[in-house]
């Protein structure tokens, strides 16, 4: 007779989500730190032990279930301003010693980074972040398949003919230690669901759901919403050229805001890859535009107590009421610009953690009712830049896309492209919805929380044959 615990363990094992209390690589990382500290100025070791399961479903059926068991130690080392990184994924004593020897040989033969000004010096007090670790994950077991099946059924019930996507569950243990009195552990869990419903080849809807806790996770809503969009988008007409007011759903606007967040990285500003260069304290958006990076966001998909050099993460206002207030910094870049780290290391490339856009008070109906000639865009993809430093870009609406006339959705459209400028999009933000959604998906690297957003007068182009 099996005990409840044995049964639970068996169930856990199906999906590989059991997380161990002790990092198996902890001793190894201590050994590496001891050896490297003798020879290096700065050392950061990040040990990650992650178990992840992905259920991929295609055309209403489960197509593949993949389990990953991944362990790695990211090493950063500086010696006389010569900087080297490596990711170790092989852990026999021989492998580790070889990697250390190669590191030291490597560091001697690289050239100094004259701009480097060191890493964060601890110790720090780290406060736990609400709703980032869920013990319930340990017994998720076959519920993953149940979630997928329920989502497919929900989508079919709402009119879809084909449903595809993924469900991912991840548990991770991270330890970060440096030679400056930092040694911190963090456990995390996350759920990610992406569902695309199709009624036919040219009528589809896409929605995602992501959360750190089971209680915040509602894949069935995402499935039904994607199906509703698909149903509405049947028999689309060719869209037209010209200027249109664009009502962005949270998913496509997150795609655009992800690029604004990346443009706020001081690394991209210095590289000529940002349209925010030289615009500090200048007006770059409408009064409605406030963009915050929050590494400590409750239930934030990328929330973590510390950044890549062990600095406690924080909430940073990037844009406030249209005015650019801060770039994203690590310790080195902050010293260079005589400011404080914003807790966004990357030791070389600071990057956003979780982006949050302003929320307004308008309902969908109120936003649509004010549009004379516009388009409701539920998804975009393939955002590419003509020039990152000017912000000139285009992006292609994908899935349900609807023409709006005189305050009403008239008909679905297809075959168009938004060809405009990132700063112009920020300037033309007109009104904000009242229901924010956290979005993370295939084309969006940074989790973004945003409501629906209405942007006035953007340029729409299309092929000449259409």
């Amino acid at each position: 007779m099996k005990t409840q615990k044995q049964k639970a363990d068996e169930e856990t094992n199906v999906f590989g989500n059991a997380s161990k209390d002790e990092l198996p690589q902890k001793e190894i990382s201590e050994y590496i730190l001891k050896r490297l500290s003798k020879k290096a100025d700065d050392v950061v070791l990040t040990t990650v032990n992650a178990n992840k399961t992905q259920i991929k479903f295609v055309n209403n059926k489960i197509s593949n279930i993949t389990n990953w068991n991944a362990t790695s130690i990211d090493v950063f080392l500086s010696s006389k301003k010569r900087l080297v990184t490596t990711t170790m994924k092989a852990f026999t004593k021989e492998d580790v010693d070889k990697a250390i020897d190669t590191l030291m040989k490597f560091v001697k033969n690289t050239k100094p980074n004259k701009e480097y000004r060191g890493i964060a010096k601890g110790p720090f007090k780290y406060q736990e972040i609400e709703e980032t670790y869920d013990k319930g994950f340990l017994t998720i077991g076959e519920k993953g398949i149940d979630y997928v099946e329920a989502g497919i059924n929900e989508s079919l019930k709402h009119g879809a003919k084909r449903v595809s996507g993924v469900l991912e569950t991840t548990t991770s243990n991270v330890n970060l230690k440096t030679n400056y009195n930092i040694d911190v552990d963090e456990k995390g869990t996350s759920l990610y669901y992406s569902v695309r419903s199709l009624v036919d080849k040219y009528a589809s809807g896409h929605q995602t759901a992501c959360a750190r806790m089971l209680k915040n996770f509602s894949p069935e809503n995402a499935a039904s919403e994607s199906a509703e969009i698909a149903k509405m988008s049947q028999n689309p007409e060719q869209g037209k050229l010209g200027k249109f007011d664009i009502l962005f759903a949270p998913m496509p606007f997150s795609n655009i805001l992800d690029h604004v967040g990346q443009a706020a990285s001081i690394f991209n500003v210095e590289s000529g890859l940002s349209c925010l260069g030289g615009k500090m304290n200048k007006k770059i958006g409408s009064e409605k535009v406030t963009l915050i990076d929050d590494g400590r966001l409750k239930n934030g998909f990328h929330s973590s107590m510390f950044d890549a050099e062990g600095m406690p993460t924080q909430r940073t206002t990037i844009i406030e009421n249209g005015k650019l207030k801060s770039y994203l910094h690590n310790t080195t870049t902050a010293k260079k610009y005589k400011t404080k780290s914003t807790g966004n290391a990357g030791i070389i490339t600071p990057s956003p953690n979780n982006l949050i856009f302003s929320t307004g008070n308008q309902s969908d109906e109120e936003m649509i009712s004010g549009i004379k000639k516009g388009i409701y865009v539920t998804n975009v993809w393939y955002t590419r830049f003509q020039n990152y430093s000017t912000g000139d870009f285009s992006t292609i609406p994908r899935d349900g896309c609807f023409y709006i006339e005189n305050g009403k959705i008239k008909n679905p459209i297809k075959g168009i492209r938004i060809s405009d400028n990132l700063l112009n999009v920020m300037k033309m933000v007109d009104s904000l919805g009242k229901t924010p959604q956290q979005v993370y998906c295939w084309e969006i690297d940074t989790p973004v929380t945003t409501p629906k957003v209405l942007v006035k007068g953007l340029n729409i182009t299309k092929p000449n044959t259409a």
């Binding site: 900087l83 033969n109 199709l198 020039n387 492209r417």
Partner: protein
């Protein structure tokens, strides 16, 4: 070569315990897998980054791991790990097989096309071994490029130069008897450069890659390539007129042809997209299985995808399902002749796999990918194509581009571009844009030159993302009566 550079900074590849993959196959069968395959991988490489002339960070990686995939009564499951001991591998296999069984009530019934099994061992010879080139020499090359840019006296708002090299050894085996070992070195150089003139800026990125030793990097002369690019951007900014719009004839250079053929021929011909398997990720295709034999372009359009080109960035002789690679004729005389397949899409459409299944690393699933995709050269010169145009443009390379998720509606914004008047290239222009649908694009081709160039890219697909090395290209082509619009001026 300086003496210190003769020292090996790393081994070509790291020793692998092939027995682990054999053990995985036996273990999977023991626990109920009808089909089992394993990819054992060892990759060792390094990378260097110079930003605005300052070295940022150097890196090296050693990756060792195993990826396995199983069919259990036609249900598929996979397990990937870098914990390379038999106990962990067996535990992972048991979990994966349990997963497959647990999904039975709702799983897709997956079948693989029957293919011969192979025993093979192949490797790319390096004339100058990548492992013999030290970090100092690699960074020195980036410095040299930066110096060459500075010598142009053109004002740059930013330069981003990235160089990486790596070697991958892979052992593929399955329970059908295949045992294939490959050792492939690769080089990759990627850059962004932003140029400013008269208060205006222009930006260019590009990539070069090979499956070779260091000899390719030496032959390529990257400093000269960057110098040419920077001067061209500067000249266009200073002297470029506003590009004409409306219906005109266009000659596209090999870089533009490369991105066109990759985006609007290679991708929509991937059978997994056609069958909806990537619907929630990279999208589907405007094509359906019954479109073999469909006329998609003019008679002069021929497109091939060929992984067997020696030293090419997308090189392989056996794919990651162990199927022997061959050139695939995607378009012949304007007619669609073949899609790209792995074993499961081939079985679904009742054909043989044509060896297009690839993985980036051991921890990814094999999905349908391009390799080296190109327009087959014709017999004209580029000058002859241009001489046949009274009023048009020449688009040598491009900046922004994109295409919809069914691969119909695409846009290319020209970077270095010129007016053509009475058969002659005249003034530089900024910034012409082609926005066109796929059938019209390939139907409007009336001339194909013979100046073939192949260019490197990292093609993104899959979830988790797999950025896989590919080449794309061909010779210059001439498009008749295309509507041109403008990029952002």
């Amino acid at each position: 070569m300086k003496k210190k550079n003769i020292e090996k900074y790393r081994k070509d590849v790291v020793d692998m315990d092939y027995d682990l993959a054999d053990f995985a196959i036996e273990t999977a069968q023991k626990h109920g897998a009808d089909y089992a395959e394993a990819r054992l991988e060892s990759t060792e490489g390094d990378g260097f980054l110079l930003k605005n002339g300052i070295p940022q960070v150097s890196g090296f990686d050693l990756i060792k791991g195993i990826g396995m995939r199983f069919l259990v009564k036609n249900a598929m499951s996979s397990f990937c790990t870098n914990v390379l001991d038999k106990k962990s591998i067996e535990e992972g296999i048991i979990k994966a097989i349990k997963s497959a069984n647990a999904s039975k009530r709702i799983n897709e019934k997956i079948e693989f096309a029957k293919e011969p099994s192979y025993k093979a061992n192949y490797q790319v010879k390096e004339k100058i071994k990548l492992a013999d080139i030290g970090p100092d020499e690699k960074i020195s090359l980036l410095y040299e490029i930066q110096k060459k840019i500075a010598q142009t006296k053109v004002r740059t708002m930013g330069t981003y130069l990235s160089l990486s090299t790596y070697g991958t050894e892979r052992y593929f085996t399955n329970n059908e008897g295949s045992r294939i070992i490959s050792k492939i070195p690769r080089t990759n150089f990627f850059y962004y450069v932003t140029v400013e003139e008269k208060g205006q800026s222009a930006q260019r990125f590009w990539q070069y890659g090979s499956a070779t030793g260091w000899e390719y990097v030496k032959e390529m002369n990257y400093p000269e390539i960057l110098k040419t690019d920077v001067l061209a951007l500067s000249s266009t900014l200073k002297n470029g007129k506003r590009a004409p719009t409306g219906n005109l004839d266009v000659v596209c250079g090999p870089q533009v042809v490369g991105i066109m053929v990759h985006e609007s021929v290679g991708h929509p011909y991937e059978a997994d997209r056609i069958l909806g398997r990537e619907a929630a990720q990279a999208g589907e295709s405007f094509l359906s299985p019954d479109k073999i034999g469909y006329k998609i372009g003019s008679d002069v359009v021929n497109v091939v995808d060929d992984p067997t080109i020696e030293n090419s960035y997308g090189y392989y002789l056996y794919d990651d399902e162990g199927v022997k690679a061959r050139p695939k004729n995607l378009i012949k005389n304007g007619v669609i002749t073949e899609f790209l397949h792995n074993r499961s899409t081939a079985a679904e459409l009742g054909v043989k796999s044509n060896a297009a299944a690839r993985v980036t690393h051991y921890d990814r699933e094999p999905i349908v990918r391009m390799s080296n995709t190109m327009v087959v050269p014709g017999d004209q010169t580029e000058e002859e194509l241009i001489s046949g145009i009274k009023n048009g443009i020449y688009m040598k390379n491009f900046m922004e581009w994109n295409i919809d998720d069914k691969r119909l509606n695409q846009k290319y914004v020209g970077s270095e571009s010129y007016l053509i008047k009475n058969g002659q290239i005249t003034d530089p222009i900024k910034w012409p844009a082609i926005e066109i649908e796929t059938p019209q694009l390939w139907s409007s081709v009336d001339g194909v030159a013979k100046n073939t160039e192949l260019h490197a890219g990292s093609c993104g697909k899959g979830e988790p993302m797999q950025a896989i090395p590919v080449l794309f290209g061909g010779p210059s082509i001439r498009l008749r009566n295309i509507r041109l619009s403008l990029g952002n001026i």
